[in-house]
Structure formats: structure tokens, C-alpha cells
Symmetry: C2
Subunit: 193 residues, 2 copies
DNA sequence: TATTGTTTAGACCGATTGGTCAATACATTG
DNA sequence: CAATGTATTGACCAATCGGTCTAAACAATA
């Protein structure tokens, strides 16, 4: 019977994710993916099928390991207002910690809209919907508990919070410094003050 | 003496701008730039020097023809609150009108941060500063005239408005529909309500 | 009309792109 | 130990990348 793989597929996928995350699909070359994963060309094609399927796998991994993990952790706090504040503190910390300024893989992919197929667009759209859903649910629960004013519309505020999240992640990639990012985060928190 | 050019340099630059605007620097190919401008390969290199200088020229043209033109027009209104509202109505209209979903050339270039040189980054950073400055000045003047509440901080609200502008332009490229974009714009207007 | 200096035209270049493939290595099964 | 079937390897592929360069086209000047 067969022969087991000689490399850690999930570890290789993690490395590939980093490459796509920082360069985007178009600017990431197979040469770099091969170098960074340490997996031979043929083996990479054998294991993942090609650049596009590898990108999808990497994006799904990001969505699972980062986005879902963070939202689950925050919802588990069972403290809506604090969950939202922690969310912004968290993405700002991530932004400042990352010397490569990769931003968020999902939002980066939104910026590349048009170059991607329906499957990729759906993964991204779903991720955004779930972040927005997290905001909306948090606001609703906060209102039910009397922690958040009842005269704000959960749905539209959730959309605004998602918008500010995107802005922090995109601006954090380049021109904006820590103070400016924190200003945006503070404005976000003020929306549900 | 010499021989005058046979093609309209500014018209060619306009076409090149459209290509870079929709594809970004990396994904735009010289082949497409040649096809869309209608200018022969050698002539294009002779006139602009290469892909990178052509990109810079295109970005500068966008900054001058679109960003500066819009801000000047709005400041000329001499009605700060209306200027800000018109700004958001304008970018939403632009977003919905553009069947190619190109978004904003400046913000698109922010998303490509890291792949660009200092000159490009400076053009973008300056454009963003000026948009934010437009918001801040508008708020300050509005406050001086009693049109806008005095208890809001012009500087931080200006940053928030810029952030929401970016979000509209990026989300408008792909996953978000008109209603969602208008929700963000309404939240922006509410910030200075 | 001959000379001059620039523009145009597109063939051509080496480098890089994503992708393929036949030979080889290998652990498992019989 | 031989047979089996998958994993690995790196040479190889056509296509495309951005860029160069020489020969021809051309209008202005002399």
C-alpha cells in the first residue's frame, strides 16, 4: 500500500497562507511558495493541485484559524460590550505586532475583487457577514441586558463597525501610525457608547 | 527640427490610468496598457519611460483630476455640512455608476502597500492627508458658524470619516450592495449630526 | 531637395510565469 | 524478497513578463 507524506501538509499550508496573505494571489509566485513552504514543486502540485486551489485552502485556513477562532473566543466572554472593545484592541495589537504589515487576509482579498472566482468571493463575503453578525448580535444582547443604549440600530451600527474594522486593517498596512489607528478604534467604540 | 507626436499624450495617460486603476500596478501588463492606450510599444516607452513612471504619472493624474477637483468643488460650496454630505453622496454615486467596480485609485494603492516605492507611497499619503484635512476644516468651519455641534473633536471625527470613506470604496468593489454602502454613508453623516 | 533630429513600428531579448512529466525513491503488502 | 502504488524530484515546457533596439517614417529646416 501507499507511502505516507514526508512533509507536514498543514505546516506547509500555514507557510503558503503567509505568502498569499502578504502578497495577494496575483503577486505571489509559485517560486516563492515553493521556497517558503520548503516543499518541492511537484510535491506541492501533487498535494494541492495548483496555485488557485492552494490559495483557496490558505484562505479557508485563515478564515478558520483566525477569524472564526477570534469571534468564538470573544463571544464566549458573554460580555457584549467588552467583546466589541476587545475585538478592536485585538486587531490593533495584531496590526502593530506584524512587522510585515500583512493586514487581514480577508480584507486584502476584498481589495483584489474582480480577479477572483465565485468560490473565493463567497468565502470572503461569508467571513464579512459573520464579523458583522458578531457585532450585531453583541449589540442586541447588550441592549437586552441594559449595557447598551436601546435607541441605536444594531444592524446599521454593526455595518459601521465592520467598515471601521476594514479601515484599520487597510490603513494599518501602510500610511497610518498607531495613534491614528487608535483614533479609529475609539470612534468605533463611541458608536456603541 | 523635430517631429510632433502623432498621439494625444494626455488621452493615452487617461487610458493607462484606467488600466492601473482597475488592475493595480502588479496585475496590469504592458500588453494591456499598449492595447488600451492604442499607443505602440516603443512609443509608449519613449513617451513615458516604462511601467513604473507611467504608473506614477497615472496616479498623479488621478490625484489631480479626481481627488483635488472634487475637494475644490466641495470647498467652494462654502457650506461645510453640505460639503461633507455631498462628498459621501458623490463617492456612492461614483461607486454605483462604475460597472468595472474600480473603486478609488488612491485607496486601491494603499491596499497594495509594500509593493510600491517611496514616491508612490508619498503621493497616496498626501492624498489621504488632504481628504482628512478637508473633513477637519469643514467641521471646524461648521462649528465656527454654529452648524455643527462644538463638543465633537474635528480631528478625530475627520479620521473616522476618512476611514468610512475608505470602507465604502473598498467594499463597493465587491461584496456590498447599494443599501449597505448607504448605511455606511449615513453613519458617517451621523458622526457630525 | 538634402539634411537633420525625433517618433514610430514591431521584431526581438532574457527572465520569469504557472504548470507538466518521466524517472526514481520508498513503505507497505503478498 | 518481489510486487505494488503513491510521493518525490528537478528537468523541462510554452506562454507571458517588462524592456530594448534598429530600421523606417516623417516634418521642419537649410
Amino acid at each position: 500500500m501507499p507511502w505516507e507524506k514526508s512533509f507536514d501538509e498543514d505546516l506547509a499550508l500555514e507557510k503558503a497562507m503567509q505568502v498569499f496573505w502578504s502578497r495577494g494571489f496575483g503577486s505571489a509566485s509559485m517560486a516563492e511558495l515553493i521556497a517558503k513552504t520548503g516543499v518541492n514543486r511537484g510535491s506541492l502540485y501533487n498535494a494541492f493541485g495548483g496555485k488557485q486551489p492552494l490559495f483557496v485552502r490558505a484562505l479557508l485556513k485563515y478564515d478558520r484559524d483566525r477569524r472564526k477562532a477570534l469571534l468564538s473566543e470573544l463571544e464566549a466572554l458573554d460580555d457584549p460590550r467588552r467583546a466589541i472593545c476587545n475585538f478592536f484592541d485585538n486587531i490593533i495589537a495584531n496590526t502593530l505586532d506584524d512587522a510585515d504589515h500583512k493586514g487581514c487576509f480577508l480584507f486584502n482579498t476584498v481589495s483584489e475583487s474582480g480577479t477572483h472566482d465565485a468560490q473565493v468571493n463567497e468565502i470572503v463575503a461569508n467571513g464579512l457577514r459573520e464579523i458583522e453578525g458578531f457585532f450585531r448580535r453583541s449589540i442586541e444582547v447588550g441592549q437586552a441586558r441594559g449595557d447598551i443604549r436601546k435607541d441605536i440600530d444594531p444592524s446599521s451600527k454593526a455595518t459601521a463597525l465592520l467598515a471601521l474594522t476594514l479601515a484599520i486593517r487597510v490603513l494599518g498596512r501602510g500610511p497610518y501610525n498607531e495613534a491614528a489607528l487608535r483614533t479609529i478604534a475609539d470612534e468605533a467604540k463611541n458608536l456603541i457608547a
